[in-house]
Amino acid sequence: MSTLDQSLQGLRDTFRRDQVWPFLAPEQAQVDVGNQMILYVEGLNLSFDGFKALNNLNLYVGDGELRCLIGANGAGKTTLMDVITGKTQCDSGTVYFGQNHNLLTKDEADIAQLGIGRKFQKPTVFEEQTVFDNLELSLKTDKRVLPTLFSRLSPSEIDRIDEVLAIIGLRKQRFMKAGALSHGQKQWLEIGMLLVSDPRLLLIDEPVAGMTAQETERTAELLTSLAGERTVIVVEHDMEFVRSIARTVTVLHQGSVLAEGTMDQIQNNKDVIEVYLGEEQDDEGNLAGVMA
């Protein structure tokens, strides 16, 4: 085929009548979870000055799943969340939210508006503003400048905030400044800020760090009650906690997935034992101790 033919063919393809040019096609706002999968992470690579933070990482998370990510420090858990939420650019790989949203082409605000909420390791709430205002800011609304300037709280929005205040147990503190809350309450407020925005996928980084046993228990209840309707990915070091909530656990090691399965499968997994305990020991009780 001559070059002319080739270019003609290309031209014909460009102007085919049965297709819409990609830039003219309306962007589908709905997340397509036709295959029961909500998050596709494939071949993700990222290095910081030669250190491979993520190394050909593949991860698939089903719609409505509650997934725990565990791994030692530097295994790439937080970095993975950074890439998913658009904070960090990766070197190569793909991240899809549903089948139709390529997250790597979007910025933090876009990703948040798609329905991916994130809780940081250190609780970050707006300390100078009241608990209520914190939740109001997180509502799922039009977040452009002018609509925000003229927006008013609708009764249904107030109801929604009240509902979330009840879930996170901060009803009495609603007009308190968020900075005056205790550490555990801040953690909950941050989870509440995620909930009020009605997200599809929640990324939760160390939700029970610094919580009392009782608070931890309530957090576990809260997270398990969310799964099903929403997809939840939890990063946590507290093995007790992971055991109490996890259905599927993914172990990360040196930037890639080492093992995946139920908690029991993980604890009996040879690779995991090798990495965490060395070869001479394979007692599962000790494993939990070391990993915690």
Partner: protein, 377 residues
């Protein structure tokens, strides 16, 4: 339209000090004006035209401080170059006043201002065209600072430049403009700037009535801008602004495009500074490149810090007090002012981190708790 009115009226409930403050401000203004125009000169209560002009100048500074407080106190953007927007607004007004001189200049040229005749220019540069129209000059006084702020903000905030780097850039911006406006080739009167104004809209600039009117207009505009800003900052947009100040990353992760908020707030603030500059020039009678000087911009920040960041009214009070002190101090000990200003800044930073408004808040809350204790016992 109704929506807009609702929106304005809703603002009156928040910021409980705003309305009383506006009432006090406007009544003092009206009283001072009446004392100047109606009382005989030898009366004890007579306010001299010099004082009126001085007060008008302070109010322009107060407006400028308000502009800085909006972005620094509420959004955490420390601009050390707001004098640039003020000066640009001032130059727009200056150009209009210059064209109003007409053939009454030293050289009697009906079209060209004196400094152009002196430089042997034959025709008016393109950017002076239309400046003989008052409305056009006023549009420029708002548009030019706004546009500069938009371009600067767009580039800086989209690249996520924050903190001290941004402050240094704003400082560089005003310094670059200072150097540019010093050049005669720029066509803004070079070193001498624009001066020797005769009249505004046909009113003699030296007349008492014109002076008083300018003073009144400044006070009214300051009140309007204060109420508008209070309203904007108490809307949800204000909450987003505070959120950006306290944790920009978190704000992004809940879906706000923070750079847009910062750019528009920066533009709003620059426009206020431009208006302040335009009101300043006819009252002091001169605008020269000195207004772009970085030290001016730093002074504004000190006014705001003294009054109290993030309080709006505090910024106004700070600007009025510090400038009054400056007038007094420079009369007694001209060389000492900069030292006094520096000392003031250090003292405020160390002992009054929330400024005078913070001090007032502390005192009232102490009195309240004391009262409660007494009531309890």
């Amino acid at each position: 339209m109704i929506k807009l009115l609702n929106w304005f009226s809703a603002g009156r409930t928040s910021g409980k000090y705003t309305l009383p403050f506006v009432v006090i401000l406007l009544s003092i203004t009206v009283l001072a004006s009446a004392a100047n125009l109606l009382l005989p000169q030898d009366s004890a209560l007579y306010v001299s035209t010099y004082s009126i002009t001085l007060l008008g100048k302070y109010l322009c500074y107060a407006m400028l401080a308000l502009a800085v407080d909006i972005i620094w106190g509420y959004c955490g953007i420390l601009s050390l170059g707001h004098g640039a927007f003020f000066a640009l607004g001032g130059y727009a007004m200056g150009m209009y006043l210059m064209r109003q001189i007409g053939d009454r200049g030293v050289y009697g040229n009906p079209l060209l201002p004196d400094f152009m005749v002196f430089l042997d220019w034959k025709e008016l540069p393109w950017f002076w065209l239309g400046m003989d129209q008052f409305w056009f000059a006023m549009v420029m006084a708002v548009l030019v600072p706004g546009l500069l702020a938009f371009v600067f903000g767009w580039l800086a905030f989209r690249s996520r430049v924050t903190g001290v780097y941004l402050s240094i850039m704003t400082q560089a911006l005003t310094y670059a403009l200072l150097l540019a406006f010093f050049r005669n080739e720029m066509g803004f009167g070079g070193n001498n700037g624009l001066t020797d104004f005769k009249e505004i809209l046909g009113f003699d600039l030296q007349a008492d009535t014109t002076r008083v009117s300018l003073f009144l207009i400044t006070a009214i505009l300051l009140a309007v801008i204060l109420m508008l800003s209070q309203r904007i900052l108490s809307s949800r947009l204000g909450k987003v602004t505070l959120a950006v100040r306290d944790s920009e990353a978190r704000t992004r992760f809940i879906g706000y495009r923070t750079e847009c908020y910062k750019v528009w707030l920066f533009v709003y603030s620059a426009v206020i500074a431009g208006v302040a500059g335009a009101l300043y020039v006819p009252q002091v009678g001169i605008i020269n490149p000195g207004e772009f000087s970085p030290i001016n911009s730093i002074e504004i920040v000190i006014w705001v810090a003294v009054g109290g960041r993030g309080t709006l009214i505090g910024a106004i009070i700070g600007a009025l007090l510090v400038n009054y002190a400056k007038t007094r101090f420079t009369a007694i000990m001209p060389d000492g002012w900069l030292f006094a200003l520096g000392a003031l800044f250090v003292l405020v930073t160390l002992y009054l981190p929330k400024g005078l408004m913070g001090l007032y808040g502390q005192l009232t809350s102490k009195r309240l708790t004391k009262g409660e204790q007494e009531a309890a016992s």
